[in-house]
């Protein structure tokens, strides 16, 4: 029972004025405790405000990204519609057979703005190391227009818009050939997929 050893020293009467001070300090809520609570409350408020601000910032950033994406998509749709509806736009559709598969190529050619929109569907994927190459047919021969590579496993529908360069001159038709993956720089060398006059 060593707990009782605390009574070994002789008792000492505290100074009388200590009594009120000690009892007063004991029963009143501690100043430190109040500060702890205040600090905790302030930290909580700051935490909530900070969390709210962080959430709002993240939400605003996500919504801004969505808005930008939708705006870009809308602009693309508007551009495509403007392209299709343009008074100088001619449309040509040509059936093609690639590797035994029947597909088609649709060409929207805007001669006023010198822009083309080419849409391919149902075409066979390219062999490894090969690509489809589109050509402008001009009075001066064929000029390279664009490469449209169709890899296995990808969608069989592909669309591409591109400009007709000024140095190409008047375009009278379109053609597509199968070329090495890097494309042919001067004239078609591989098998022709189609050749048509617009």
């Amino acid at each position: 029972m060593t707990d009782w050893l605390g009574m070994t020293p002789n008792p000492r009467d505290p100074r009388p004025e200590l009594r009120a001070r000690v009892l007063g300090r004991a029963v009143r809520p501690s100043r430190r405790g109040r500060w702890v609570w205040r600090a905790a409350a302030a930290a909580l408020v700051l935490g909530i405000a900070g969390g709210g601000a962080y959430w709002a910032r993240g939400t605003i950033a996500a919504l801004s990204a969505d808005r930008d994406r939708l705006a870009a998509e809308l602009a693309a749709v508007r551009d495509t519609l403007g392209f299709v509806r343009g008074p100088a736009t001619r449309v040509a559709w040509v059936p093609v057979t690639t590797n035994g598969r029947l597909g088609g190529v649709t060409i929207f050619a805007d001669s006023a703005n010198r822009r083309w929109l080419v849409r391919c569907e149902g075409m066979a994927p390219n062999e490894p190391g090969e690509t489809y190459q589109i050509w402008f047919v001009t009075e001066g021969g064929m000029k390279r227009a664009a490469l449209m590579t169709m890899d296995p496993g990808e969608s069989t529908v592909m669309a591409m818009a591109f400009a007709v360069p000024e140095d190409v001159g008047p375009v009278v038709g379109a053609a597509m050939s199968i070329e090495p993956r890097a494309g042919s720089s001067v004239e078609p060398r591989g098998p022709m997929v189609f050749h048509l006059r617009l």
């Binding site: 029972m1 009782w4 002789n10 008792p11």
Partner: protein, 199 residues
Amino acid sequence: MTQPKRLSQEDERTLVRRLKARDEGALAELYDALAPWVLGLASRILQDDAEAEEVLSDVFVQVWGRIHQHEPARGPLVPWVLSIARNRALDSLRRRRRWWRKAERWGATVRLEDDGTVPTPDPAEAAVPGWPVHQEVHAALAALPVDQRRVVLLAYFEGLTHSEIARRTGQPLGTVKTRLRIAHGKLTEALRHVKDWLR
């Protein structure tokens, strides 16, 4: 001289219940009964009046704030309060940066008690509540052989570890442990009947 009156265990339970019910009057009663002992214990450990009064204040703040932690089943209220006082005083002692300088100053006192001498009860204090327990504790300590009493006092009042006591006394660690174990058993036996707080 006022004859000490016995506060039964039932009275003590009532006091604890009142304290738990936030009865400030009960705290004042406890202060009146225990403050001299708490201050005496703190002074004995710290040898500094100002610090001892600080401990006295801290002890009653802690008692008031943590009375719900006191479990009567684990022991009476008074030793619980005194253990708080001892721990507070030892904490203060350990924190004190000028411990070693102080040690020089109270070396004479310590050395006296290092020899196992228990301070003689002051007859003028006989009217203080709890005096009979004080005398019984003294008697139990006095009944211990000097070597055992010495290690008990070093452990209790200076908070020294077994190794520190061994270094201080120049005794092997195993001897210190054995003496403490035997002394603890004797004190437990001698004070087993002390259950009521006396006033």
